[in-house]
Point group: C2
Chain length 154, copies 2
DNA sequence: GATAATTATGTCGTATACGACATATCGTAC
DNA sequence: GTACGATATGTCGTATACGACATAATTATC
């Protein structure tokens, strides 16, 4: 028989948070998709480009770590970017296992120019509507939740 | 040269929050996958089952709304549950457009028994490690972020 | 009562996203 | 220098997840 504490139920909160996360994720994606259909990049592709431009020749491992995604996922993203000629894989000279990712010259300028606005996605727009204090609270809560999950993971 | 205002940069916060969300999502999924490979349900499937058991004969539209997912996504989830015989689609008698989703008898008991623990996923475990105050702060921040995104959506 | 607009699903193509497995390469121990 | 473990990547199968489109059925409009 599960105990039913009178105090705030973490189970109910968990369910609520899960729904919130689902909705948040969905809305963060939505407005960008419009831009994507105009021939631009998807959200993860954009994020990957930003990292690659900032860290020219980053390894796939490094990129997947930076993006908090599985290497197999990032491999597919890079595949698609490569197919569009936006990125190139070059095997490292000294270590043949590593495939270093380089941004095409055209893209570097493009990204450096556009990233400030590109990175101003729906999340930034939403945060602008909040006070500095609220932003800090949200950021702190997010960080805390991540820590809690990491701790529970062990 | 990007200006560096002394005050908190919402752009930096946004980038941080995005990374946190990615990591959070990943960790929330991970431990469940182990259970899944034991022949159980995936996270979205579990969530769908919980809703269906609670709302016997819910429409696909209703289910997708409850889950904050596109109807096409939920359609696929129901497909897979149906293939396993856990769920059944029955066209509504009075309105032929609606396909009402019913949980198999076996599943109802199963879910009613197991859901309390099943829903005690990694998120609940993580929240247990936090104080009641922290939990409230996290839940509030999540709700606020969702509201902000919804507002920005308009 | 026929037609148009709306609504609920289904389906398709594509892009994430993961784990499991395979392969190639490096470092190390021997 | 060879065998062995660790590491980096690639590949495969599956499950989300979405928008766009098609279809069927209800409702509204005339």
């Amino acid at each position: 028989m599960p105990r039913r504490p009178a105090k705030a139920e973490s189970g109910t909160q968990a369910a609520e948070i899960e729904r919130d996360l689902s909705a948040i994720r969905r809305m963060m994606r939505k407005p960008l998709e419009a831009e994507v259909s105009k021939g631009n990049l998807t959200v993860p592709q954009k994020a990957a480009m930003a990292v690659v431009v900032r860290h020219e020749g980053i390894s796939l491992k490094g990129l997947s770590t930076a993006m908090s995604l599985a290497h197999s996922t990032v491999s597919g993203i890079v595949d698609r970017l490569e197919k569009q000629g936006l990125v190139e894989r070059r095997t490292d000279a000294s270590d043949g296992r590593i495939s270093r990712i380089h941004a095409a010259a055209v893209v570097k300028d493009f990204v450096r120019e556009k990233i400030p606005e590109l990175s101003r996605g729906p999340l930034s727009a939403a945060l602008d509507r909040a006070s500095a204090q609220e932003r800090s609270q949200i950021a702190a809560a997010m960080r805390r939740l991540r820590e809690l999950l990491e701790a529970a993971q062990l």
